[in-house]
């Protein structure tokens, strides 16, 4: 990604380099004097001697274009550099010292930014008279505040970083911190701002020259050339074309360079969230079959998810029976959330479901493989047959819509119900999930609710159409401890109310598992390492990872907490053999020899440890 962004810099960088090189080399080139007139040959078309023709005074157009590049680029870069210097200084000082310095430097800059730029430039020209020097002054005046503001914002951000605080604590002087620590960090942003400013200054300079208020004739400038060519447009349209092309071409090259620079410095720029809208339906025909044998609500077989060539989730299989709650437990990065998202076809576009079947039995008893469903087919299931509750209730509610409307919207997405009927139903649902004063709360915006209330509202939306499966992805993680218990109670109450509701509960919290789950799947580094009835797994773990997880749960009266040594391996650098072996105190040579299979150790219990008998 980074390398690609850098390669993108090459072409525009070379273009801008070539333009600058030409502007610098103009005095060395064998060009006619750009101001030498030859009235007899005025408006001559291009010839061998005058490659681009002659203008209304018979001056050589090519020479004027190239000398004009020199003038325009000189004025623009000088102004941008001076503005950059002044603005950076003001911004750094304002951002570092805050207080009075900020007031003087930043507020002043903001007042200048309040004026339309061309207007300000005209004001400066009025006060100082036209000419190249005035131009530079006007441009510096115009663009310094922009630099100051950008630099100020960046300085504020960098200043808060730990290493700056650390330097202050070590007693470094302010000028050293500013020069050695903060400046290098804001430099990329300033570089982008600089190339933007050169482009803008170029446009403004030529605009003012075009109006006759910039570069003074007979000095060559692109703006002046366009101004001159306007009067002879009818007879000699090419005279208009050359400076227009030169000016536009240069600005385009500069702007493209800017865009590319930004791509290089901002790795987030490439994030895409709309891929699902244009996603094509899977090629396979939809697999539907009548239930055979004991019907499970959901059966996951061999689910494998890849990011590029890296397997994030490997061969995960699990089943959920109607009315059953299955907890998926594991540390961050174990692939449990990806597994949950895959069920609804909500995987981010950067990862790919590359193998596995997700067989869901719908209301009519029809078994359908969710991996074969197109977006439209999945949409019919989402929110009606399968509800989902996310980890962060604050981010999962749309901030600009009333809470009640977001619940009602879910109802109307799957039922033909009038707006008012859906609103009434939404209020009933909010009351059902224990939101106090539901009538009034339905009219609230998300930011007016507490975190727990937001999660209740999202649960109301998830169960609005009485789903048969509820996926809860760490629903209590973002909440206060006291609220966590309330939300768990709510989910437990939902289970007892509707005996058929199956639940997939993703969590890293074993205490929660004990409270709510019937069965547990323990995931580690993208695969299931142990599975079984919740009580058995928690009281008699048969995998060292599960045992270690249980030992690390703080409990009243327990002596020391046993932390698991090491960290979860990166999915791109999995150890050979058992993925947990490097952190396992039972590990032996046979553990790293080959990847252990998931072995059935009792009815309904599996473990991926070859030494499961030794663990208890």
């Amino acid at each position: 990604m980074f390398a690609r962004a850098r390669r993108g810099l090459l072409v525009p960088g070379m273009e801008v380099g070539a333009i600058i090189a030409i502007a610098l080399a103009v005095p060395l080139l064998p060009l006619p004097d750009p101001t030498a007139m030859d009235v007899a040959a005025r408006l001559s078309p291009p010839s061998a001697l005058h490659l681009l023709g002659q203008d209304e005074y018979g001056r050589d157009v090519l020479s004027r274009i190239l000398w004009g590049a020199r003038t325009s680029l000189f004025v623009a870069s000088l102004a941008a550099a001076a503005a950059g210097l002044a603005g950076t200084l003001l911004g750094l000082l304002g951002g570092y010292f805050r207080g009075l310095v900020e007031l003087v430097t930043l507020r002043f800059a903001e007042i200048i930014l309040c004026f339309p730029p061309l207007l300000l430039a005209l004001l400066v020209v009025t006060l100082m008279g036209p000419g190249a020097a005035t131009l530079v002054v006007a441009l510096v005046f115009l663009y310094a505040p922009g630099f100051a503001r950008v630099c100020f914002a960046e300085t504020l951000a960098v200043r808060e970083l730990d290493f700056v605080t650390a330097q202050e604590a070590l007693g470094a002087r302010a000028n050293r911190i500013l020069g050695r620590t903060i400046l290098p960090n804001v430099a990329p942003t300033l570089l982008v701002q600089f190339s933007l400013t050169v482009a803008a200054a170029l446009v403004l300079e030529s605009g003012l020259s075009f109006l006759g208020l910039g570069v003074v004739p007979p000095a060559p400038s692109w703006g002046l050339m366009i101004r001159g060519a306007r009067s002879t447009m009818e007879q000699a349209p090419w005279l208009l074309l050359w400076p227009c092309l030169a000016l536009s071409g240069t600005v385009i090259a500069l702007n493209v360079l800017c865009d590319r620079l930004r791509d290089v410095f901002d790795p987030h720029a490439g994030r895409v969230g709309t891929g699902w809208l244009s996603k094509r339906a899977p090629a396979q025909a939809e697999a539907t079959a009548q239930a055979a044998g004991k019907p499970s609500l959901l059966r996951v077989d061999g689910l494998t998810i890849e990011y590029g060539a890296v397997r994030l989730v490997r061969d995960v299989s699990l089943r959920i029976a109607p009315g059953e709650t299955v907890a998926v437990v594991g540390e961050s990065g174990s692939g449990k959330t990806l597994t949950a998202l895959a069920l609804l076809g909500l995987l981010p576009s950067s990862v790919r479901l590359c193998a596995g079947r997700l067989v869901f039995t719908d209301r009519d008893g029809c078994m359908r493989d969710l991996t074969c469903l197109a977006e439209a087919g999945l949409r019919k299931l989402r929110g009606s047959e399968i509800g989902m509750v996310f980890q962060d209730p604050t981010a999962s509610l749309n901030p600009v819509h009333r809470v009640g409307n977001q619940v009602a919207e879910t109802i109307r997405a799957h039922n033909s119900l009038s707006r008012s009927a859906a609103a009434r139903r939404a209020i009933a649902l909010l009351r059902e999930v224990g939101l106090p004063d539901a009538q009034k709360r339905a009219r609230s915006f998300p930011h007016e609710l507490s975190g727990g209330q937001r999660q209740r509202a999202l649960i109301a939306a998830a169960i609005a159409n009485e789903p048969r499966l509820l996926i809860a992805d760490e629903p209590t993680t973002a909440l206060d401890v006291t609220i966590q218990a309330q939300i768990l109670d709510l989910l437990t109450a939902l289970k007892t109310r509707s005996r058929r509701l199956g639940m997939l509960f993703v969590t890293h919290n074993l205490a929660v598992v004990a409270e709510i789950a019937d069965r547990v799947c323990v995931m580690y580094a993208g695969e299931i390492v142990e599975e079984g009835p919740a009580r058995e797994v928690l009281y008699q773990p048969r995998h060292p990872y599960t045992a270690a997880l249980i030992a690390s749960v703080p409990e009243g009266g327990a002596g020391r907490l046993a932390a698991i040594p090491g960290v979860v391996p990166l999915p791109s650098a999995l150890p050979s053999g058992c993925a947990f072996a490097p952190r396992c105190r039972h590990a032996g040579p046979q553990c790293t020899a080959a990847a252990p299979p998931l072995a059935t150790i009792a009815t309904g219990r599996t473990s991926r440890c070859i030494k499961w008998r030794e663990i208890s």
Binding site: P116, S248, R382, G387, F390
Partner: protein
Amino acid sequence: MLRYVVRRICVAAGLVFVVATLVFLAIHLIPGDPAELLLSQGGVAPDPATVAELREKLGLDAPLLDQYVNYLAALLHGNLGSSLIDDHLVAAEIALRLPRTLELIIAAAVLAILFGLPGGTLAALHVGSPGDRLASAAAGISLSIPVFVVGTVAILLFAQKLRWVPAGGYVPFERDALGHLLVLAMPAGSIALGLAAIIFRMTRTSVLEVATRDYVRAARARGIAPVRIVLNHVLRNALLPVITVLALHLGSLLGGTVLVEYVFNWPGLSGYLVRAVELRDYPEVTGIVLVISILFVLLNLAVDLTYAVLDPRVRHA
């Protein structure tokens, strides 16, 4: 909500006062005597008696504070002084020309929104497609071409070669509605080209950004129809930064129509300003700068209020 509106209006009024003061200071505190500068055009030293006479006429001989108080008092009465050249009232001339400039800006903005907003949204929804690449490249180019180049080339093409529209000038709407729209088309179109590109890019970026938010995924998880997700969840939030950028550019257009008005000979406020600058007609320059700045402040006020309507969080801030 009411408290928010009242506070915004108070801030706007304060800003107008600051702007008026700054314009006053710019004329009076910057080195050089306006009267002397005005009379010394052509490099000839002016006659001291004439300078003194002009100073008296401009009120420059009174103490600075008195001048300031007089200036503010006149402003409150809507009096912007009269031209140094032919004694016409500056306020009257502005009242005549301002609507024409505003018409130009509004026409350009409507055109730009009409193309930029749906274009940017579609490009974001089909990101990476040939259509998206083509539109993005076109936007990058039209963004880079200076507006007076667009205008000049448009005259060459549409007025001189194809003879579809007149090269410029102004036809009052009351006299000839169709003719009015014909002369409006090119200047408005020239401004709209760059503005549409800006709106296109901003919308595209913003839609792509908002589409990655958790609440969009949550809406998908609830089975909301894609069209509704795009319109109600993505666009509704993506519009906020677009409005900010649009307002910023509309603001800079208030003074920035200078070039277009000059190219197309459109008798608006900006052309008046350029003439005033060329002639060093101080009352005219200050009057116009003041009016434009006040409009700019009002525009920002309108944006703040629009924000409050679109984003419930702002109302309580």
